[in-house]
C-alpha cells in the first residue's frame, strides 16, 4: 500500500519523450482577439447579480445600458446609449428617458422601454448583491411599479425618493447592474419565479457589441461579434478570454504570439518584455485602492497619535519604486484619481523618528498587533514591508495570511487589529467610496453594517457621516466637488485608514492590436473599438 505525497515532484523525462514540434501559428487570426486574464472570479453573468471584475468585463460588451461611457473618450463622462436622451424634472426627483429607436437584442427582439423597465425592476426585486446600487435611491420591491415605469414603448420614467445629484443617479446606471436584458427571452427561461436568474447566470440576452458563445468556468469566455450592433459591426469577429493564472505563463504565451493581450503581468515580467519586438505595454489608471486600516476597538490603535504614527511608518516610496513598480502609484485619499472631487494630497512618507515621537507622546510601548492579509503576492509583500518599518519604531506586527474569503470573514466580524486590503469602486461616482470609508451611521456591534469599511474598523467618522449624506443630494457639481475635497482632507488626518496606492493596470499586448481600452477607473474593458 503505497500512496506517496500528493504534491510530489516529477521531471525531466520531458526531454526524452518530447519530439520537436514547431508550432505552426506565429500569430492569432486577424479577426480574433485572444486575451489571457484571471477569470476565476466570475460566478455569474446575470447583470443583476454580477459584481466582480472579470464578470463586468463580459457584461460591458454584451449588455447595452441606458447611459454609458464612450471607450474612446472616457473623460467625457456618461453619454447616451440605449437611451437617446433624458430630461430631469424641476424637483430633481424624476428622470425621463427617451429610448433609441431601431436597436435590436441578439435574439432579434427590438429594445424597448418595457425591457428597460423590466431590467431595472428585476435588479431591485431579485435583491442580489449589487442591488444596493439601485435601492439607495429609494427603489424597493414594493414601489418599483410606480418608481420605475415605461409609459410607452419608447419612454422610461424613474422617480427617486428624494432629490439626488443627477450625475450620481446616471453614474450608477452605467454600472453592470444597469444592463438592459431581453425581457421576452429571459422570461422564456424563468424557473419558479426566479425572473430567469438561474438561466442568465450562464447565458446572456443583451443588445451589445458581442454575444456570449460559451463560458467555461476557470477556463475561458468566448464572445461572438453582433453583426447588428447599433454602432456598427465590431472588427474582431471573436473575442476569447482564457484563464491563465500565472504571470510567467501569460508572458510566455504573449512572447510566442499565442495570445494578443496579457492582463496580469507582474512588474518583473513587464520589465522583462519591455522593448521586445512586437510587444507593447499599456498603463492605465484603475479605480482600485490599496489601504491599511486599524481596528478602533483596539485600545492603543484608537489613539490619534498612534494612527498618525502608523501613517508615518509606511515606506510608500520604497514600495512604489520596487516590487510595485509601475503597477501602483502613491495615493493617500479615498477617492481614486479621475473621480469627481479627487485630490492629490500626500502628506505622509516614511519618517521613523517622527513616528517614534508620536508613539512616545501617546505613551505606547511594546505594541504587538496582528494583521490579516489575503494570500495575494503583492499584498504579502506589502505586509512584510510594513512589518519591517513598524518594527523600526518598536511595533511588532504579526501577519496572518489567509484565503480571500477567510480573511474577509474575520474582517467583517471586526476581529482583526489591522487589515491590509484593497477596495474597488462599485460605480463611477464619489459616493461609492465616500459612502463606505467615511460613513457609519451606527457604530454598535449589533448594527452589523458589514458592507461599510468604517464599521468594519469600528470607527465612528463623526460629522463625516452627515457630510456624506449631504453631498449626494447636492445638485451643483462644483459645490459637490468641494464637499468631497473637504471630506478627504479631514479623513486624511483623523481616520484609521492609511490609504497607500492606486492601481495602475499594465497590459502587455502584441503591437498590432489597437484601441484596446480597459475602462480606466470608472468602467470595464471594451472590445468593440479594437482593431488589428
Amino acid at each position: 500500500m503505497k500512496r506517496r505525497e500528493f504534491l510530489a515532484g516529477t521531471a525531466m523525462a520531458a526531454a526524452l519523450s518530447t519530439l520537436p514540434m514547431t508550432l505552426a501559428q506565429a500569430a492569432t487570426p486577424p479577426n480574433m482577439l485572444v486575451i489571457a486574464n484571471r477569470i476565476d472570479d466570475i460566478t455569474t453573468l446575470d447583470p443583476a447579480e454580477s459584481f466582480e471584475f472579470a464578470g463586468s468585463d463580459v457584461s460591458r460588451n454584451v449588455y447595452g445600458k441606458l447611459v454609458n461611457f464612450d471607450p474612446m473618450d472616457l473623460d467625457a463622462g456618461y453619454g447616451p446609449d440605449l437611451a437617446e436622451s433624458w430630461t430631469v424634472s424641476e424637483d430633481g426627483k424624476t428622470i425621463t428617458f427617451k429610448m433609441r429607436a431601431g436597436v435590436k437584442f441578439h435574439s432579434g427582439n427590438p429594445v424597448t422601454a418595457k425591457d428597460a423597465e423590466y431590467s431595472l425592476r428585476r435588479a431591485v426585486i431579485l435583491e442580489k448583491t449589487p442591488s444596493f446600487i439601485l435601492t439607495q435611491f429609494g427603489f424597493s420591491k414594493d414601489n418599483v411599479e410606480e418608481t420605475i415605469k415605461a409609459t410607452d414603448d419608447m419612454t422610461l420614467v424613474i422617480t427617486t425618493d428624494q432629490k439626488y445629484a443627477t450625475s450620481f443617479v446616471l453614474n450608477c446606471l452605467t454600472s453592470t447592474i444597469g444592463g438592459i436584458v431581453d425581457m421576452k427571452t429571459v422570461m422564456e427561461h424563468e424557473v419558479d419565479g426566479d425572473m430567469g436568474n438561474a438561466w442568465l447566470k450562464t447565458n446572456t440576452a443583451g443588445s451589445g457589441a458581442y454575444k456570449l458563445i460559451s463560458w467555461k468556468p476557470n477556463e475561458s469566455v468566448s464572445l461572438q461579434a453582433n453583426p447588428d450592433f447599433y454602432l456598427g459591426k465590431p472588427a474582431m469577429e471573436r473575442v476569447i478570454v482564457r484563464h491563465v493564472q500565472e504571470s510567467a505563463s501569460q508572458r510566455l504565451l504573449l512572447e510566442r504570439g499565442d495570445i494578443d493581450v496579457a492582463r496580469n503581468l507582474n512588474p518583473e515580467d513587464v520589465k522583462g518584455i519591455t522593448g521586445k519586438d512586437g510587444i507593447a505595454i499599456d498603463s492605465e489608471l484603475r479605480g482600485r485602492i490599496m489601504y491599511i486600516s486599524l481596528n478602533q476597538k483596539h485600545p492603543e490603535l484608537s489613539k490619534p497619535e498612534v494612527k498618525e504614527a502608523i501613517k508615518y511608518l509606511i515606506d510608500y516610496e520604497g514600495m512604489q519604486n520596487s516590487f510595485l513598480n509601475g503597477q501602483y502609484a502613491i495615493h493617500q485619499n479615498f477617492l481614486p484619481r479621475t473621480y469627481l472631487g479627487a485630490i492629490d494630497d500626500a502628506p505622509y512618507s516614511l519618517n521613523v523618528e517622527k513616528a517614534k515621537e508620536l508613539l512616545a507622546k501617546a505613551g505606547v510601548e511594546n505594541l504587538e498587533i496582528t494583521a490579516g492579509v489575503r494570500d495575494a503576492q503583492e499584498r504579502i509583500e506589502i505586509g512584510q514591508s510594513i512589518q519591517n518599518t513598524l518594527a523600526q519604531a518598536g511595533i511588532k506586527l504579526n501577519l496572518v495570511v489567509g484565503t480571500g474569503k477567510q480573511t474577509l470573514s474575520k474582517y467583517r466580524a471586526r476581529e482583526l487589529d489591522m487589515y491590509i486590503g484593497a477596495w474597488g469602486p462599485d460605480y463611477p461616482d464619489p459616493q461609492t467610496n465616500a459612502g463606505t470609508f467615511a460613513y457609519n451611521p451606527d457604530n454598535s456591534d449589533d448594527a452589523g453594517l458589514t458592507g461599510l469599511l468604517a464599521w468594519r474598523n469600528a470607527w465612528n467618522p463623526g460629522d463625516l457621516t452627515a457630510q456624506v449624506d449631504a453631498a449626494v443630494i447636492e445638485g451643483d457639481r462644483d459645490t459637490r466637488k468641494k464637499m468631497y475635497e473637504d471630506m478627504q482632507r479631514e479623513f486624511l488626518k483623523t481616520s484609521p485608514f492609511a490609504i497607500m496606492f492606486q492601481k495602475i493596470e499594465q497590459t502587455g499586448r502584441r503591437d498590432n492590436v489597437k484601441n484596446l481600452n480597459l475602462g480606466g477607473a470608472i468602467t470595464a474593458v471594451s472590445y468593440w473599438p479594437v482593431t488589428k
Binding site: M1, K2, R3, R4, E5, F6, L7, A8, G9, E246, S247, A248, R251, L252, N266, E268, D269, K271, G272, D315, G318, M319, N321, S322, F323, D375, Q377, I380, E381, G383, Q384, S385, Q387, N388, N398, L399, V400, V401, G402, T403, Q406
Partner: protein
C-alpha cells in the same frame, strides 16, 4: 585488565561481533553494529546521512553561519544575482539575503520533518496494532476509518484542515500528519497479523501477559523497523507537501523563511531572476534526496527482503 587500553577498540568490536552474545543488550547492540557496517558500505546512503547531519549542524548553528539577518530588508538592494556583493546566493524581492534565509529555513524544515515523523507513524502504529491484535468489530471500524482517510483526495484533506484551523506552519504539520498516517496503520496492521499468531506471542500469552503489554512490549518493537524505513522514504514527500502548502499560501507565514514559501515568492520572478526560486528549490531537493538515499540504505539494512511495497 592491565593492557585493555591497547586493545579496547578491537575488544569492543569483537564483543559486538561475537556469535554468542552474553546478554540481550549485547545481542541488540551487536545487530545494530552489523547493520551499521553494512550501511556504511553503501556510499549513497552514507552521502544521505552526511547531508542530513549537515542539515542538523546548519540548523543548530544558524545564527553563526548566516552572513546576514534573514529578515533584514533593503528595497534598494533587491533581486541581486548570486555572487553579488556580500550575497553569495543573491537577494530576494525585498532585498533579503537568500543564503541567510535558507540557513534559517533549515530549522523550519527540521521542525516539520521531526514532528511529522513523530505524529504520523505513531498514530498509524496505534491504530494498526490495536486493529490487528484485537480483531473483530474494533478491527472493522478502525480499518473502515483508515479506508475513508485513504480514499480521501489528500489535497482536499490537507487543505481543508489548514483552511479550517487557519494557515500556519503548526497546522500545516498537523494536516500533513493527518494525511500521512493511514498507510502506516495498514503496514502496522499487516505486521501485527503475521506476528499475532506466531508461537512466540502465544507463549507470552500463556505466561499471562495482557493485551496492552503484548502490544506495547512485543508487537510494537517488531513493527518499528519497517515503519522507520517507510518514514524515511516518505520524508521527502513530507517536505515537498509542506512546500506545496507554502506554495498555496497555507504553510508558514511571512516573513518566515520556509523553503516552500520562498519558492512561492520567487516564482513570480522565475523568468528573469531565476535564483530567487531556484536556491530554496535546490535546498529542498538536496534534503529530500538525502532522506531518500538514507531510506534506501536503511531498507537494505533493516528490511532487506520486504522490498519497497508492503
Amino acid at each position: 585488565m592491565s593492557d585493555i587500553s591497547t586493545t579496547e577498540t578491537v575488544g569492543w568490536r569483537a564483543w559486538l561481533m561475537t556469535d554468542a552474545p552474553g546478554s540481550r543488550t549485547q545481542a541488540r547492540l551487536a545487530s545494530l553494529y552489523n547493520g551499521w557496517l553494512s550501511f556504511r558500505s553503501n556510499p549513497m546512503a552514507m552521502a544521505g546521512l552526511v547531508i542530513l547531519l549537515g542539515l542538523l549542524f546548519t540548523a543548530a548553528f544558524a545564527p553563526l553561519l548566516a552572513p546576514h539577518d534573514p529578515f533584514y530588508q533593503t528595497l534598494a538592494n533587491r533581486l541581486q544575482p548570486p555572487l553579488s556583493d556580500g550575497h553569495l546566493l543573491g537577494t530576494d524581492s525585498l532585498g533579503r539575503d537568500i543564503l541567510s534565509r535558507i540557513i534559517y529555513g533549515s530549522r523550519i524544515t527540521l521542525q516539520i520533518v521531526f514532528l511529522v515523523a513523530v505524529i504520523a507513524p505513531v498514530a498509524g502504529l496505534l491504530v494498526g496494532t490495536i486493529a490487528g491484535y484485537t480483531g473483530g468489530w474494533l478491527d472493522v471500524i478502525l480499518m473502515r476509518i483508515t479506508d475513508i482517510f485513504l480514499a480521501f483526495p489528500r489535497l482536499v484533506l490537507a487543505l481543508a484542515f489548514v483552511a479550517a484551523l487557519g494557515a500556519g506552519i503548526g497546522n500545516a504539520i498537523l494536516a500533513i500528519s493527518l494525511t500521512a498516517w493511514p498507510p502506516y496503520a495498514r503496514i502496522a496492521r499487516a505486521e501485527t497479523l503475521t506476528i499475532r499468531n506466531s508461537d512466540y506471542i502465544s507463549a507470552i500469552r500463556l505466561q499471562g501477559a495482557g493485551p496492552l503489554r503484548i502490544i506495547t512490549k512485543h508487537i510494537w518493537p517488531l513493527c518499528i523497523s519497517s515503519l522507520i524505513v517507510r518514514v524515511t522514504l516518505d520524508m521527502a514527500g513530507v517536505i515537498l507537501a509542506a512546500a506545496g502548502l507554502g506554495f498555496l499560501g497555507l504553510g508558514a507565514q511571512p516573513p518566515s523563511p520556509e523553503w516552500g514559501a520562498m519558492i512561492s515568492e520567487g516564482r513570480k520572478f522565475i523568468l528573469d531572476h531565476w535564483w530567487v526560486a531556484t536556491m530554496p528549490g535546490l535546498a529542498i531537493f538536496t534534503v529530500s534526496l538525502a532522506f531518500n538515499l538514507l531510506g534506501d540504505g536503511l531498507r537494505d539494512v533493516l528490511d532487506p527482503k520486504s522490498g519497497e511495497g508492503s
